[in-house]
């Protein structure tokens, strides 16, 4: 019994981190209606940044947040401004500009392979003060780094909720996501909102990166498995919904961990896709999505 409780809790912990990796994706989609295929690569960039920060300074790993999150915010901000915006302008009248997907895929190829070129194909693991630390509760072991990660996910979720609900810019972001043209007529400058949202989406990847580095490895294609998982999570949770992404992540985490106790891990992967497709058939807007968004 205790084993199952242990797996459920581990599933929730890892799941909330999956959710964290998906938040940026859902945020960008919610506003720009663009699936950012470079999402995993941006996570990778963040992980390399966090890894080098931790390794070179030897500071507490979570101090990396202070450096990596703003870094990725500006990275995303200018990536949107310089590369994506001109393409977006050309496709302004299309509800879901498909060419932008292709461009983000191009960015993905460029970033992943630049990382390979610069950092080589080595697996790196940061040795930090929380690496390998376990918290023992009634003979169950939970990795401290994942618990901190789940906590940070919660905090980020609360912050984003506050931001979107109460700040002026956050409301403008919501208005844009609901009706681009009407928002423009309010004097909300679309390209600026997009820059900010893309920056924030990338900054969320930065948070996820700092959470992952203390217990994960860093590698040029480390983002790829998270990428596909994030796609599944955001659709499951409802594209554009931040709480949906976090809860979707937790559901995936639980399926993965608990499912694996009854069947081979390769089948749980299958189970996730099956669950995903079933949800899509039954409630296409995702578990927490709104009808008008699909």
């Amino acid at each position: 019994m205790i084993g199952y409780i242990e797996s459920v809790i581990n599933g929730i912990l890892m799941g909330s981190i999956y959710g964290l990796t998906a938040v940026g994706l859902t945020l960008i989609f919610g506003v720009m209606k663009v699936v950012n295929f470079a999402h995993g690569s941006i996570l990778m960039v963040g992980m390399f940044a966090a890894y080098w920060f931790i390794t070179l300074t030897g500071f507490n790993p979570y101090l990396a947040l202070v450096v990596v999150v703003p870094l990725l915010y500006f990275f995303g901000y200018y990536m949107q401004k310089i590369i994506i915006k001109p393409i977006f302008e050309a496709e302004k009248h299309v509800r879901e500009p498909i060419t932008v997907i292709i461009v983000t895929t191009g960015i993905w190829y460029v970033l992943d392979n630049l990382a390979l070129l610069v950092f080589g194909a080595e697996f790196r693991v940061a040795q930090t003060s929380v690496t390998g630390k376990m918290v023992e509760v009634a003979e169950m072991y939970f990795p401290l780094a994942k618990m901190i990660g789940a906590g940070i996910t919660l905090l980020l979720g609360i912050y984003l909720y506050w931001f979107l609900k109460h700040s002026r810019m956050g409301k403008a972001v919501r208005a844009t996501s609901l009706d681009r043209e009407a928002a423009t007529l309010m004097g909300i400058k679309q390209s600026r909102i997009y820059n900010i949202v893309f920056g924030m989406g990338c900054a969320c990847c930065g948070v996820a990166a700092c959470v992952l580095v203390p217990f994960y490895y860093v590698y040029p294609t480390v983002g790829v498995p998270f990428d596909i998982k994030a796609f599944v999570i955001v659709v499951l949770g409802g594209l554009g919904s931040v709480p949906g992404a976090i809860l979707g992540g937790i559901i995936i985490g639980i399926i993965e961990t608990v499912g694996a106790q009854f069947m081979a891990a390769t089948w749980t992967e299958m189970l996730i896709y099956a669950f995903f497709l079933v949800v899509l058939f039954v409630k296409p807007s995702g578990l927490f999505g709104l009808r008008q968004d699909y």
Partner: protein, 412 residues
Amino acid sequence: MNLKKFIVPAMVLAMGTASFSAYAAEKVVKIGNILPLSGPSASVGIQGKQAREMAVDEINKAGGIKSLGGAKIKLLFADSKGDPTTGVTETERFISTEKVSMVTGAWNSSVTYPSTQVAERYGVPFVVPVSVRDTITERGFKNVFRIAAKDSWWTRDQFRFLADMQKEFGVKVKTVAFVYENGDWGTGFAEKWRELAKAAGYKVVLDEPYPSTASDLTPVVLKLKRSNPDVVFMTSNAADAILLTKTMNDLKVNVKAIVTSGGGHADPSYLAAVGKSAEYLFDIVEWETDLNRPGLKETNAKFKKLYGYNLTGEAVDAYASMYLLKDVLERAKSTNPKALQAALASTKLCGGKTGLLAYDCIQFDQTGQNKNASLVIVQVRSGKDGKMERITVWPKNVRRAGYKVVFPQPGK
């Protein structure tokens, strides 16, 4: 249809082929090498490439192929990306366009398998330094020669090792668990393990494939922990090896021994990445830096100076394969594939630079398998400076002098 979109690439291609044929004027022997230089197995691919380059550089500096008037070996590399179709295309390109004398590669069994079929069709020798799938040399091909040991030998030796350890330490192993990546390699090993475990009378308490692209392996480790085996056998690529080792250590999985199968566990970045979490682990490899072989220290020092890391099993096989090719070319006195095939088949290459290998001579049986290829088992220990070290422990006759094997490993 329009002409432009057809002519432009065609012209580009034509110019490409023209520039290739310019090489023919020089006195060179072209060797095609197919390796995964990008994608998930890029790191081993790059090791293989660097080792080949170092060997060929040495050979050429020492006067090239003397029986061919000092002809130089020229290496051509192609990136398979770990993808069979690309491997096949590249093999075809090497043979028909580049007119290489021999092909080597391709590390991923899934690439080597169909690529060797192409070489066989053209009658050009294909030397396989590493690629473990049994069937590569079991199709009655005349032109495929493998230096490395094959699957069934790896698993066989893992179980022999386990039997020897039990005898040596008087410990009885009753239950085993198998944890392996669900690719061709991992599932291939698992099939052999099942038979071997049955024959040895071990009870299999867990038989768990997992996707090697998994982002979290905690579920697998939790399951492993609950199945509570005496010994766990593992087959992993680099990323999953790192995750598994760290998670097993974190979740305090207690077993008598962990026996792994090279691959990810032998990757140079693996030990650096996992550190002390890998303590006491047993890994099976073809080769290890602490082997007592002539010239090894110097070659390793040179390699490390050039590329910044120690030789690996992959690198040594690749390195030796170049000296094998030199020997074959010297004996064949020709670059004709038929002559080369004959020379390869009658190889008995002992000592010299190939002496770096864990065994003395390269000799092929009728299937093209190097019959002397052997394997060793190493134990991972933290050294005095805290750095992790791989120490050869089995077979007993090559065990590092003075080393005391830790079996079973202490509890956590």
